[in-house]
Symmetry: C2
Subunit: 200 residues, 2 copies
């Protein structure tokens, strides 16, 4: 049977190790030698599981993008007043970002040197655009302040959310996903709302 498996590496478990090293040293700064040391197997053995270095990157950013785009398919992100859909998306972005922290971290650091990286950047722009449209709709309803450009506000809020990957560490006694999401929503919408009570 092919279903019986040993405790050896699979493409997925290997990916976990690779993504961690990528985030520590940067993708370009990580050699296959680094990966083999971290995984505890020889360099050539890695190629038994994956096609190469770039495939590991592609698998990682795909996972991050799937998580983010999945938010837009959820019901609360599709129906209701734009401003409420927007707040839901913001909160879910924080949750997904934390749930898939190493993968999203890697996605947000991609530069565009290879085809895989350029594809990842394009999909990121697409996601940003979808959220920006939501904000624009909320502005058209008069539910968010309009004295700052929609484009600019989107970028700043995205910057706030995405910065989470730079400091959040899931070490036992830390904030959970919900608490961070609440804080982000309160800070963002407390400043965003035209006349609000500071509560989401």
């Amino acid at each position: 049977m092919t279903t019986a498996k040993r405790d050896t590496y699979t493409p997925e478990t290997l990916l976990n190790v690779a993504v961690q090293v990528f985030n520590e040293r940067g993708y370009d700064g990580t050699s296959m030698e680094h990966l083999s040391k971290a995984a505890g197997i020889s360099k050539s053995s890695i190629y038994h599981h994956v096609a190469g270095k770039e495939e590991l990157l592609r698998r990682a950013v795909s996972r991050a993008l799937d998580g983010l785009f999945g938010i837009l398919d959820e019901e609360d992100a599709r129906v209701g007043r734009p401003v409420e859909r927007l707040e839901y998306v913001v909160r879910r972005m924080v949750e997904v970002l934390i749930a898939e922290l190493p993968y999203v971290t890697l996605l947000l650091r991609v530069r565009g040197n290879t085809d895989t990286e350029r594809w990842a950047l394009e999909r990121r722009r697409e996601f940003d655009h979808r959220v920006a449209e939501l904000l624009k709709a909320a502005a058209a309803d008069g539910d968010v302040r309009e004295d700052i450009e929609v484009r600019l506000v989107t970028r700043l809020v995205f910057g706030m959310i995405n910065s989470i990957v730079e400091w959040y560490r899931p070490d036992g006694r830390g904030m959970n996903e919900r608490e961070v999401a609440d804080a982000v929503a309160q800070l963002a919408f407390g400043g965003l709302r035209k006349a609000g009570d500071g509560r989401g």
Copy 2:
């Protein structure tokens, strides 16, 4: 005379080119060959002006750090109510970040693979800490909301400011430094202030 100069490269003009390439390809993703092509001189000629690749990085992040720490020495950042000093620092951070855009961009992307990078990370943490203390003092005065942890708010606001390097481009008909600084201050403090009018 040594003051008479030709139109050849100096360590500074070479730095301009190098920082631009570093930001496009990433520091690790940039080879000396890339730099020589971008600068229009041979690879070996670069070593006539600078000691090596890492010195270019050190010069770049030093310039960024000097700009940021310089803010804390300005009078408006040293005297007055903490909340007002904080807002001044936030505005000036945006201005410095834009004025020294490529250098700060590079600083914010440093990973920690070399001694120079680790030194840069340490100085960044020091700067963040200084600003966090300012926020803490403003919170002690009751001038900013206290329902969110000071540490968390600091990180989120830093994330918002630092994200500017990811999208701001000084192409002619864009926003100027002041406009961006206003927007950031309004968005941040509109959410930060306990009972404000949304105006800095």
